[in-house]
């Protein structure tokens, strides 16, 4: 085993160590904390590069998995009772490692600028480092349990970072909502995991033929059926997928992700765009052998993968349509993320690991770019997030504008030069060839159209036209210097260097990444080991042209609606309000999913809790009280019987005795004359007695 495989644990351990150290540091050690976090993650990036290079070596590729397993604990006799954990180095891991550490490092650097004035700066980097470590743990895990452990830690750090500005009630509520919503999925994940464990006797993915993702274990599971007639492998796969749905914000568990934008923008970029939310997609890719395992002779797509496809496709369109009518710059991006995650899931379902993962990687770059650009805009506009109150920003923030435009083109899938085009096209192409149904293909196309449309809308409202915030900005060459000075404080301004440099680097990547996954040179696909080698066939080009047309349609319509003429004031209504059937209202209200949950799930929970408390207090407690009162009553009856029947006779006897006693007491009242009187009388009586007796 080579050095790099043995020491792969260093990659997550370094950031976690950094987090531990800086958690002990006092708040004033800002520079220490930031340097430590960036240094640790940067070093992890270098190690990741080594790991990546290792997987590139001849002999070590083509889906080869190198693993390192160790025993964590022993919970029963012998080998079946030994719970092993471990890590794996394969192309999937390597690609994710490089992406997470690279994007992470850039976002860490960006955060130095973004969070510069925050009083809890040190704590912020502690949480960020902990997050990075946990996320890298998810990536390298060769055991579903280790993956789950890291997964939950990722959830924890996400909770902490969403609620980083804990004094805002909305942030505190959003953090809680995120944790609980993802926990719903995680609970299913836990069940799937213990089920898998009981079926295969191991949670290691790969273990020289004995792992749970390897042929012998899968073959065993696929032939067994559950009580509802589903193959055990499918049931387990679906339970695990529920976990992935929670983390990756798939419908109907997507509600937490837009609210998660309450966190600081670097957090949104890192956790809620590039890495954590993609962990669900990564999980599905990791357990893909389980999801895709066929019974002997079956030729159709497996049920599990069909579910993945449908959920993904529905999410892609559903979230994209909501994004059309949002006005918060980060919320638009959040719904866009949900939608893109849907694309990735769909890609996994219809096209396999490489298709989904390619979009995951390209999306990580351009979406974190967009979020960081949005953060830069928000910073520049004095914490304004409403795009209706922006406009004309391109004049004030040229670097942000240019990089944002690159990200927007990539996300919208502008043809040929942007990575997003190629990765999204691969998904749509795969959906076209899906044997079960064509509906996901159409949903995907619709999603692509909506994506181009809402991104154009956002671009137009933010960067074109005139600045609409805080009244109109002064003309550039005003002759009133005094006024300029006052006004210029309200004007947007370009962000500092630590914030713009990462933007530029990411923008370069958003363009450059396209070269690794085009049909002409599908290096990425063959690297992940599932390429069919088509090249530019007629069909590929047909789909490319079609999706290009769709994208142009979206861009054009967006420009037509929002660029001609640009919005003049912040208050005027949106163009789409004219849509029939009150569609805009539905979009703007997010189809009322939150309200629906509020009315059903949350209310039910509260009601049930009250019912339980009531049961406790009045039914159980009442029964106890009843018994105790019955016993008390019995005691009273008993006492009454005692006092009235038994004691009465006794008491009367006692009374006589006591009267006698009183009489006797009166005799002894301590007066000498009485005593003398008695003694005298007694003496006389005694003498009389003796005389009488003596006579005898």
């Amino acid at each position: 085993m080579t050095w790099i495989v043995k020491n792969l644990w260093l990659i997550p351990a370094l950031p976690i160590l950094a987090a531990g150290l800086s958690s002990l540091a006092p708040q004033r050690c800002r520079r220490f904390s930031a340097t430590l976090a960036i240094g640790a993650l940067g070093f992890a990036f270098l190690v990741s590069l080594c790991a990546f290079a290792h997987t590139l070596q001849p002999g070590g590729h083509d889906g080869a998995k190198e693993v390192f397993n160790f025993e964590w604990l022993q919970f029963a006799a012998g080998d079946p009772g030994s719970l092993k954990l471990g890590w794996v180095l394969d192309p999937l891991t390597a690609v994710m490692l490089v992406m997470v550490t690279f994007v992470g490092t850039l976002i860490f650097i960006y955060s130095v600028g973004y969070m510069a004035h925050d009083e809890n700066f040190t704590r912020f980097f502690t949480f960020l480092s902990l997050f990075a470590g946990a996320m890298l743990g998810v990536v390298i895990a060769n055991s579903l349990l280790l993956l789950f452990i890291s997964w939950e830690l990722v959830g924890l750090t996400s909770y902490l970072l969403i609620g980083f500005w804990y004094h805002k009630p909305s942030a505190a509520a959003a953090a809680k909502k995120a944790f609980i919503t993802t926990r719903i999925g995680d609970v299913a994940f836990l069940l799937g995991m213990v089920w898998l464990y009981s079926q295969t006797g191991t949670l290691l993915f790969y273990d020289q033929g004995h792992g749970c993702m390897e042929q012998s274990a899968l073959a065993k599971m696929v032939v067994q059926t559950t009580s509802v007639g589903m193959a055990v492998s499918t049931a387990i796969g679906l339970l695990i997928f529920l976990g992935a749905m929670g983390k990756s914000g798939q419908v109907p568990l997507h509600v937490w992700l837009p609210d998660a934008m309450e966190g600081p923008t670097p957090v949104s970029a890192l956790i809620h765009a590039a890495t954590m939310v993609a962990a669900g997609v990564f999980l599905v890719a990791r357990v893909y052998p389980l999801m895709g395992v066929h019974a002997e002779g079956a030729a159709v797509e497996t049920t599990a993968l069909q579910v993945v496809t449908w959920i993904g496709a529905i999410t892609a369109v559903f979230a994209a349509s909501i994004a059309v009518a949002q006005n918060d710059i980060k919320r638009i991006l959040a719904y866009s993320t949900v939608s893109q995650l849907g694309f990735m899931m769909m890609g996994l379902g219809v096209g396999g690991v490489a298709v989904g993962m390619f979009h995951l990687i390209t999306h990580a770059f351009f979406k974190s770019l967009l979020f960081m650009g949005a953060g830069s805009v928000i910073h520049g506009c004095h914490e304004e997030q409403d795009i209706r109150k922006m406009g004309g920003i391109r004049k004030y923030m040229p670097v942000t504008f240019l990089t944002y435009a690159v990200g927007m083109m990539a996300l919208a899938g502008f043809p040929l030069f942007f990575s997003g085009f190629w990765s999204k096209d691969a998904i749509i192409h795969a959906a076209y060839g899906w044997s079960v149904s064509h509906v996901p293909f159409y949903l995907g196309v619709a999603g692509a159209f909506l994506t181009a449309f809402y991104m154009t809308r956002q671009m137009a409202l933010v960067f074109w036209g005139d600045y609409r915030g805080h009244g109109s900005p002064p003309p550039p060459h005003s002759k009133l210097p005094q006024l300029i000075k006052v006004k210029s404080e309200l004007k947007p301004h370009e962000s500092s260097r630590p914030m713009t440099v990462p933007l530029v680097i990411l923008a370069v990547c958003a363009v450059g990444l396209s070269i690794i996954g085009t049909p002409a040179w599908p290096w990425f696909q063959s690297f992940l080991g599932s390429h069919h080698g088509e090249g530019f066939t007629y069909e590929v080009i047909k789909i490319m042209v079609a999706s290009t047309l769709v994208v142009f349609l979206g861009l054009g319509l967006g420009l037509w609606c929002y660029g001609r003429p640009p919005r003049q004031t912040a208050e005027e209504p949106d163009v789409l309000v004219k849509l029939p059937l009150g569609m805009h209202t539905w979009f703007a209200r997010k189809y009322g999913v939150d309200e629906l949950y509020e009315m059903t799930v949350i209310r039910f929970n509260a009601w049930f809790a009250r019912a339980c408390a009531f049961l406790d207090e009045w039914i159980w407690g009442g029964a106890v009280a009843l018994i105790s009162y019955a016993l008390l009553g019995l005691a009273w009856v008993n006492r009454a019987f005692d006092e009235l029947v038994i004691n009465l006779g006794f008491d009367q006897g006692c009374e006589r005795v006591s009267r006698g006693g009183q009489f006797m007491a009166r005799l002894q009242d301590g007066r000498i004359q009485n005593y003398l009187r008695v003694i005298g009388v007694a003496l006389v009586l005694l003498v009389l007695f003796l005389i009488w007796g003596g006579a005898k």
């Binding site: 089920w195 049930f608 339980c612």
Partner: protein
């Protein structure tokens, strides 16, 4: 076995300490003496842990002597992995509780003496293997607990203490009667019956207990099996009240809420484990057939305990009551594990492995819950002290701003209670579910609702107390003092250590659990 009666010394030491402390005139002196004794016990327990031969798994440090030969009563003590774990837990929680008892000023010598008596009762209960003196210690632990609640508790202490006492007393009486019946049934002509747990377990495993019951106890023409069930019911009641299993739990929230916080730490940290211990030591080995027969309703009760208590916790508004219900919830998982193993598991691939997983999980959960719950109550105690007695869910808000260390550390303890991986709570719960799921799939699937609701409860607590805008009333709320930090750091560090390296405990208990599973005949 060495000749030194180390377990008797373990039990006698706090007893002696209690007698000494009660006569001391001064509060400070009493406190330092009591602390000294509890640390001695801790050192002794750690020594036991160290010298215990883990790989052996069976009973060790055994002492056996005839006590009342005519009744067949032997003085019989010994520990296996289970007993040892509980001894260690007791030895850890008692000094923690004493350390935060510094604010007890009234009749302090008596208070400290009672805590030591309680500790002696607990040590005795966890080491005794003969019903006779086991029961003495079981009751001995109850009386100091009652007095501690009754004399030093909150405003509603009188009804709470009475309820606590009567409830557990009823359970105890039922258990006593049950064991007397067994004693009568197993007595040989002209000889004495069996009080010995190990012996009774062997009888039951041979299937000799039910016929003996039928032959000796001709109650209303009941069969041996029915009589055994009645007796089982008696013992079950005793333990179900103690754990508690719903619906025998109504004493608990009131008692936990009204008891002074250090005493609540003892109640939840250790005394609640007596019930689970009883299930493992007595009910499973002696009444396997009855448990198996009643398995489905018992599992249902365990699920109800888990889910309902978590939901009831959500409806509470007093931090101590929330934690009390959450405590019931956590012990519910233990009972789920205990009941789930009471099956042959014919349709499970590897029943022995799953059962061992579940039981190891139960043991871990007992220890971890003891540690975590005690720590949480300790934090609430700190908070209560700072707020002048207020401890409502809505009395605070945003205190993270003024007391970041307090909130950070209590947050860790809360997440441990939530079962976050990386902290101690997770390992036990994971192993329980790993074992229970194949053995009792529906119960496991329903019980995860409890996990979910617990998360909601704990996060709501974090949200209302720590987060949000600072309640101006508490803008001067002091953070943890250095002494308090030094105190809480110990359990918090243990949470991390046990969460990351559970082998520390598992390696000691696993051989015992494996033996238990082998001896369980279903």
């Amino acid at each position: 076995m060495s000749g030194f009666p180390i377990l008797s010394v373990l039990t006698l030491l706090p007893l002696l300490g209690g007698i000494m402390v009660v006569g001391l005139p001064d509060r400070k002196l009493a406190r330092s003496f009591a602390l000294g004794f509890s640390f001695l016990s801790l050192a002794q327990a750690l020594g036991l842990w160290h010298t215990f031969k883990a790989a052996n798994g069976g009973l060790q440090f055994v002492e056996r002597a005839d006590w009342i030969p005519s009744l067949g009563v032997q003085y019989f003590v010994g520990v296996d992995g289970l007993g040892l774990l509980m001894v260690l837990l007791t030895a850890i929680v008692v000094p923690l509780s004493l350390l935060v008892s510094g604010r007890v000023s009234e009749r302090a010598p008596l208070y400290h003496a009672l805590v030591l008596f309680l500790q002696a009762g607990l040590f005795g209960t966890f080491t005794a293997l003969n019903f006779f003196h086991w029961f003495l210690f079981w009751e001995l632990s109850l009386i100091p607990a009652f007095l501690l609640v009754r004399l030093w508790g909150g405003p509603q202490r009188a009804p709470a203490a009475t309820q606590f006492f009567i409830y557990t007393m009823v359970g105890s009486v039922a258990m006593l009667l049950a064991f007397l019946a067994i004693f009568l049934a197993t007595s040989k002509p002209g000889g004495a019956g069996v009080f010995d747990f190990i012996e009774l377990g062997k009888l039951a495993a041979r299937g000799a207990l039910n016929p003996a019951l039928a032959a000796k106890l001709g109650w209303f023409e009941l069969t041996g099996r029915q009589i055994a069930s009645v007796i089982f019911g008696g013992v079950l009641l005793g333990f179900a009240v103690k754990v508690p299993l719903m619906p025998f739990h109504t004493w608990l929230p009131a008692t936990y809420a009204e008891a002074p916080t250090p005493v609540t730490m003892l109640l939840t940290g250790v005394m609640s484990k007596m019930g689970v211990y009883g299930f493992l030591r007595i009910l499973l080995p002696i009444f396997p057939e009855q448990i198996q027969w009643l398995r489905t309703p018992l599992l249902a009760l365990a699920v109800v305990t888990i889910v309902f208590s978590a939901c009831a916790a959500f409806a509470q508004r007093d931090l101590k009551r929330i934690l009390a219900y959450s405590s019931i919830n956590h012990l519910g998982y233990c009972l789920l594990g205990v009941f789930a193993v009471a099956t042959a598991g014919a349709n499970v691939l590897a029943p022995a492995v799953e059962k061992a997983a579940a039981l190891n999980g139960v043991l871990l959960q007992m220890f971890n819950h003891g540690l975590t719950a005690a720590t949480l109550f300790m934090f609430v105690g700190f908070l209560e002290h700072r707020s002048g007695g207020l401890r409502g869910l809505n009395d605070f808000g945003g205190i993270r701003k003024v007391a970041p260390v307090f909130c950070g550390l209590m947050g860790i303890a809360l997440f441990s209670s939530l079962g976050l991986p990386g902290l101690n709570g997770f390992v036990g719960e994971f192993l329980i579910f790993k074992g229970v799921f194949p053995l009792a799939m529906c119960s496991a699937a329903l019980s995860v609702i409890g996990i979910l609701v617990t998360a909601i409860v704990i996060l709501t607590m974090l949200q209302r107390v720590f987060n949000g805008p600072l309640n101006e009333k508490w803008s001067k709320l002091p953070d943890l003092t250095l002494a308090e930090r030094a105190l809480v750091v110990i359990p918090i560090a243990l949470m991390f250590v046990l969460g990351l390296w559970p082998r520390l405990i598992l390696d000691v208990i696993n051989p015992t659990v494996v033996q238990m599973v082998e001896q369980l005949k279903f």
